[in-house]
Amino acid sequence: MPSHDYTQRLKGHLDLLLLALLQAGPLHGYAIIERLRLLSDNTFDLPDGTIYPALHRLEQARLLTSWWSDETARRRRLYALTTEGRAVLADGRQEWQTFSRGVEAILFGESAGS
């Protein structure tokens, strides 16, 4: 299956992945993008710039909060999860587990049983 199909699929789950990436602590845009690339082992070929609208959308929905950090030589905007964001992430994880279990049961259940 071509890789761009993974990218298309990612779009529906990008918000949840971003929330998950920020669970460990605040990160700036570039670090989020790098971590997404690293953890997914370059599975998703998404233009890096498209991550920012998603981050802003999540901030607008009050799932993320952000601020400028002057701790390094270059000023960076840090993003962090809000309490609401944590709750949405927890729900999202639960839903994903249920969903993936269901899909896996159908896709692999029969062959596993035979």
Binding site: H28, Y30, D48, G49, P53, H56, Q60, R77
Partner: protein, 348 residues
Amino acid sequence: MNLLDNYIAELRSTLPRDLGARYRDRILQEFEGYLLDSAAAGRDAGLSEDDALRRAIERCGSPVLIAEGFQQIGETRRAERIHQGSRPLLVICFALIGFTVWRYPAVIGSSHETVGALLLCAVLLGGYGWFVTATFGLAEQALRRGARVGLLVGLLGMTTLVLSLVLEIWLWRRSGMSVASAGALTETLNEWEVGLPALGWIGFTIWEGARQRVSLPVCMATGVISGMFASVVTSISALGLNTVLSAQLAEEVWRHDSTCMFAAAIARCEIGDTLGGLATMLMLLPLLGMCLAAASQLVWRGVRYLSYVRSPGRIATAAGEVTLIRPLMVLTLLLLFVLSCTIVAQFW
């Protein structure tokens, strides 16, 4: 200008204007930071400065694609700005009108010019304004459509009012016409002055209510906002015009009006009389708009159901919007309370 500046300039020109200048600056700063970080990583990996920056820009993606992602955010921010700007403005309008209404003797209950009464009036109308504007939170669609109808009708009302006042002044100035004939013509003018915008408002509100494929609460909110904008614009224009033209109107027109003919201060009495009507309109139009929009929506759904265009099971209120009906319920209760107070005050 280097590659980075070119890219940032292109992104600046493609980002939606609805985001606002400050927010756009923030986005551009973030992108600039990202590109510099990404280019630094490229340099660390052994690329030349230009190649590293070129790779960073390539990875970032097309500015048009990025700008598309910000489109919805821009629209939401615009709606938020309208909400934030409209709420205090409308509450102030209502409170000001409320204070003025209470000051004039032709309005029921206005003879009790105490500080408490003034405060009560301000609180009632201010609270009413707040509840009405609370319906802004229902949907951007409702706000936009309702405000468009309301403003359109308000402007129509202002036009008919200007024409009517000018015609009335001209009519009473004319010699050779009996008071009875001039009076009858004035009556007709007054009917047109009110009737034309009212008919327009009813028509537009029904139209907006029926043509929307949205849930009932959003539809009702459209009616409320339509009524509120129409009444606020009409009230402010009527008050402004009556005050500006008060000297001429008192001289030519109002002295023939039986309501205030023998009042010590005709202008004060007439403006007070007008304010009474405006206060009623301010109270009733949003409620009436809500009912009209809801009724037309239900009729439209009924027509669709009967013609089997769409399955009736699918014509349901969106689950997320059910709770949003609460402000409308509170508004209705408040209106009933205010109307009850007015009736009690009249008997008293």
